[in-house]
C-alpha cells in the first residue's frame, strides 16, 4: 500500500511545475486558489501564470493569495487587490473596456473574415462550374454547330 502511494506521488509530480505545500481550511478555498493561480499572470514574466512560474514575485503573490483567501476575501476583492498593485496585466481574463476591446473582439472578427473568405471562394467556384455546364452559344453559333454536326454525319 505504501509503495503504491509512493509510486502515485512520483507519478503526480510533473503535473505541477511549482509545488508549495499550502494548507487550506476548506476544500472550496483550495479550489478557488487553484483557479486563481491559473488565471493570474506573473507580473515579471511575459507569459506565465502564477502556477507555472517559479519567480520570486510569483511565490510572493501565491502566498498573498493564500492569505487573502483565508481572510475570507471575495473573488472580486482579490482581483481588485491584484489589479491595484500590478494593473490589468495580471489578469489573463481582463475585463472588457476600451483598452482590451480589441483583444476581446479580435477572435470573433477574424472568424467572420475567415468564414467570408471561404464563402466567397466556394460561391465563385460554383459559378464557374455552372458556367461551364451551361451551353451558352448564340443562335448563330447553334446554327453553325448543327451544320457541322450534319456535315460530319453526312460523311
Amino acid at each position: 500500500m505504501r509503495a503504491l502511494l509512493f509510486v502515485l506521488c512520483w507519478w503526480l509530480l510533473p503535473a505541477h511545475a511549482v509545488i508549495e505545500t499550502y494548507q487550506f481550511a476548506d476544500p472550496s478555498l483550495r479550489e478557488r486558489y487553484n483557479q486563481f493561480v491559473e488565471e493570474l499572470r506573473c507580473p515579471k514574466c511575459q507569459n506565465q501564470n502564477l502556477s507555472g512560474s517559479n519567480s520570486e514575485i510569483s511565490a510572493d503573490l501565491r502566498r498573498e493569495l493564500h492569505r487573502l483567501l483565508h481572510e475570507g476575501k471575495s473573488d472580486t476583492e482579490i482581483v481588485d487587490y491584484m489589479v491595484a498593485r500590478y494593473g490589468e496585466f495580471v489578469l489573463y481574463k481582463p475585463p472588457l473596456n476600451k483598452q482590451t476591446f480589441l483583444l476581446w473582439i479580435a477572435p470573433g472578427v477574424l472568424l467572420i473574415i475567415g468564414i467570408a473568405v471561404v464563402l466567397v471562394i466556394t460561391v465563385k467556384q460554383r459559378q464557374k462550374k455552372a458556367e461551364l455546364k451551361q451551353d451558352n452559344l448564340s443562335p448563330e453559333e447553334q446554327k453553325a454547330l448543327k451544320q457541322l454536326l450534319k456535315e460530319s454525319a453526312d460523311d
Binding site: 520570486e56 514575485i57 494593473g87
Partner: protein, 189 residues
C-alpha cells in the same frame, strides 16, 4: 497580373521582417522595454507602511517620513546585479542634491548595511522591506526600480531597471522640472 500575385508572400515577409527589425533596434537602443509594465501606482498616493530603518534597526519609519517634497524612491538589494551598476550613479545624483530614499527589498540586512558602508550611501534613509510587503503594495516586480514622488505624496513615475545618465536625462529631468513648477504654482496661489 497572376505573376505579380506570386510575390505577395514575399512582400509580406519583407514587411513583417522590417517590423521585427525595427522593434529589435528599439529594444537594443533602450527605447522600448517589452518587460516594462505600466504601473498601477502612477498618480496614486504612495502606499502607507511602518517598517524598520536600515541605518538604525530599532527605529521605525513610515510613509509620512518620506513624503512632503519631491523625491526619488529607489528599490534595491544586494542580490540584484543591476543595482551594483546603478549605485555609483545614485551617489552622483545625491551629490547633486537629489533627494533619494531607499527601499532595501527582500535582502539580508547586514549585507545591505555593509554595502552602504563600502560603496557610499546616497539615500536619506533606507526602509527594510524584508518580506517584500511594501514592495508588493508598490507593485514592485524586481529590483532595481525607481519611483518619483511629488510634493503631495503622489507617485508620478515608475522606472524599471538601472538608472544611468541617458535614462535620467530622458525620463527624469523633464518630469522633475514639471514637478518643481507645479510645486511653485501651488506655493504662490
Amino acid at each position: 497580373m497572376a505573376r505579380l500575385k506570386l510575390f505577395i508572400p514575399f512582400a509580406l515577409f519583407i514587411i513583417i521582417g522590417g517590423f521585427f527589425y525595427i522593434m529589435m533596434d528599439r529594444i537594443n537602443e533602450g527605447e522600448y522595454h517589452p518587460q516594462a509594465l505600466p504601473s498601477a501606482l502612477v498618480n496614486k498616493s504612495f502606499p502607507a507602511f511602518k517598517l524598520p530603518k536600515l541605518e538604525q534597526l530599532e527605529d521605525t519609519v513610515t510613509a509620512a517620513d518620506m513624503l512632503g517634497d519631491i523625491a526619488l524612491v529607489n528599490v534595491w538589494a544586494t542580490w540584484c546585479p543591476s543595482c551594483h551598476e546603478e549605485h555609483q550613479y545614485l551617489n552622483q545624483l545625491a551629490q547633486q542634491g537629489v533627494r533619494i530614499f531607499g527601499i532595501n527589498y527582500k535582502d539580508d540586512v547586514f549585507k545591505a548595511q555593509g554595502w552602504l558602508k563600502q560603496r557610499g550611501n546616497p539615500y536619506l534613509f533606507n526602509v527594510v522591506d524584508k518580506q517584500g510587503k511594501l514592495g508588493l503594495d508598490m507593485g514592485v516586480t524586481g529590483a532595481p526600480e525607481t519611483y518619483v514622488i511629488d510634493h503631495r505624496g503622489f507617485v508620478r513615475l515608475r522606472f524599471q531597471g538601472p538608472l544611468n545618465e541617458r535614462v535620467w536625462q530622458d525620463k527624469f529631468v523633464p518630469l522633475l522640472e514639471q514637478l518643481r513648477s507645479e510645486k511653485q504654482q501651488e506655493g504662490t496661489s
